[in-house]
Amino acid sequence: MRRLIAMLSLAVCVSAHGAEATAAPVASADDGQWTMPGKDYASTRYSTLAQINAANAVRLRPLWTFSTGVLGGHEGQPLVVKDTMYVVTPWPNVLYAFDLRKEGYPLRWKYRPAVSPNAIGVSCCDTVNRGAFFADGKIIYNLLDGHTVAVDAKTGRELWNTPIADLTAGETTTMAPLVARDRVIVGAAGGELGIYGWLKGLDLKTGKVLWTAHNLGPDADMLVRADTFKPPYDSGTDLGQKSWSGDSWKTGGGPVWGSVSYDPDLDLIYYGTGNAGPYNAEQRLGDNKWTSSVLARRPEDGALVWAYQFTPHDSWDYDATGAMILANLSIGGKPVKALVHFDKNGFAYTLDRTTGRVLVAAPYATINWAQSIDLATGRPVLDPTKATGASRGTVKGICPSLEGGVSPASPGAYSPRTHLFYTSTNNLCMDYAAAAASHLRGTPYLGATTPYTAGPGGNLGGFIAWDAGTGRKVWENKETYPNWSGTLVTAGDVVFYGTLDGWFKSVDAKTGKTLSKFKVGSGVVGNPITYRGPDGKQYVAVYAGIGGDWFLLAGDIRSDDPADVRAPADYIKDIARHTSQGGIVWIFGL
């Protein structure tokens, strides 16, 4: 019987490979490395490696682990360059380089930067780091206290170290950089601290800041030029200033804390901006452009080419900092250079990435703040009873919660074989009680209390496969807890993700059926990767280490500080029964 199954699955594999030959390849020459956060410039998190497949994934087993010695939330992912694996920890942002050629993967070196402990208290939501980027022989990443560093990938020596952000203004740096051409693209978090959000372009060789582009404010600050800025739905000058009441744009947030994608043919970088601040939206009337938006810029000089706002006048903390996945899709029979984005606001968007126009927008999570997205104007059709503000008191039962339909910290994936997108989801709703917020430099600028409840069905999260051409859910796995891991999909038609209570799973890319699962010691909020080792075998790596928002929201998951003991959150009472803090790197194989 077993032999018959093996033969059958072999037949399936062969036919699947046949299909691959006719599908448009995204990454034709996959060398088995993982050199940038999203695997490729398109942020597909898709690998052509196929030794591990839907037939044999049941045999996956842990082969190696390493404690990072750090307790903060382990978001992001390792890199694998040639025969070395690079791991960046949350603050204090240690960089480890493991030698994959030797038994036990001993360290080649580790790099321990001088990073200010003040950053611990300034970061809104745990001391996370979302990963490094390899380019030009350098491992490049951000330190939490507002520095970008470049480290020699061979020797571990620091090549440059550039201050980019101002802790005293509430800025911290958690995002993974992107290197496009010879520019290192970086941004800062701080949407909860009244920052004036920006993106910067650094020189790859020296680290020097070559341009700074604000995400809001007057055209001059935003690097908007009348001849090159062509937004799909808007016209006029200084939109990033005029769409705010008074001077509210100066402390309006618009952070960058996710990741950046790049289309080398169009020569455009794409990134999402975070929420408008403060959470009490009545202190900043107007659309509040370009917060909760996707922006397309030239990497060379930062010039803004187009911008589209997912959530005008954000009144629910709907950041748009989640991954912008680039894929060439067929929509209604026409080939489209698409950008696909699962927004915190619960809609999945398929945009034309040349122009920024919305082609498809459909709910992938339970939504009631808006009914739909009007494709003619690009604007949401709002439910006025779900608008928030200090004068409205407590607005009950808004879905999704401000944790989002998915967290921007949990990037999805795209397989050109199944033509499906895959993402973790949350199933949470919230009440929203806004109140006047006072701006005090370097302290939180919030003004809302937002208790959560479970969404319909009672499960707090899930994992879905999504058709971005039609805006349709293809399959869904319900999960007990909010699902906070990133996604990996491979040419073996296996999808990998982890759960908040610490299960690392492989599932069938076509059906969602669980193929294997293993309890990895702490909740998974990181992103799995795969690579070909020096021995020619395929491996899968992932971090365990619950944290990020769950450091705040489930404060009872910590055990390290006897002076910080908290009651469990009432909507997720037993998460601490299943997991505790602690960073561990895992490697799985057959």
């Binding site: 208290g121 745990d126 302290t443 002076a563 003991v565 029964r577």
Partner: protein, 152 residues
Amino acid sequence: MKRLLSLAVVALLASCSGQTGPSAQTAALPPGIRYDAHLAAGGNLPPGAQLTNPKSGDGATAKAGAAMFSAMNCDGCHGGDGAGWVGPSLADGRWRYGGSDSEIFSSIYYGRPKGMPAFGGTVGVDGVWTLVTYLKSLPVPADIATEAWDTQ
């Protein structure tokens, strides 16, 4: 040589524990706040001030402190009612840097190294005492040490 050195250290320590050593230096030191919860080498607590909260236990002050806790964005880090958020809980009766009024005053007035800002320059001495009075008024749960899911 090494042995001689260690003998010298012992001699030095002996003089420290004597009556004249530390107290002889106090005149030259500025007054600082003493942390009675810290270990003291040789069992000798250094001289230091203990501040007295002029508003200790005053209900109206505690109420004003609750409003200030929100207005100064303390709740943005420590959570509503000080129950803990990105910053530690202030409502569990346990303290990283000491829980006497004097020690809490020092934490708020001067700040702490893991990102707790110094508020003394913004709210002043009276403001900090108002916050201290509020924090000390928070009810502490009877048993915070145990979190149980299945005791059968």
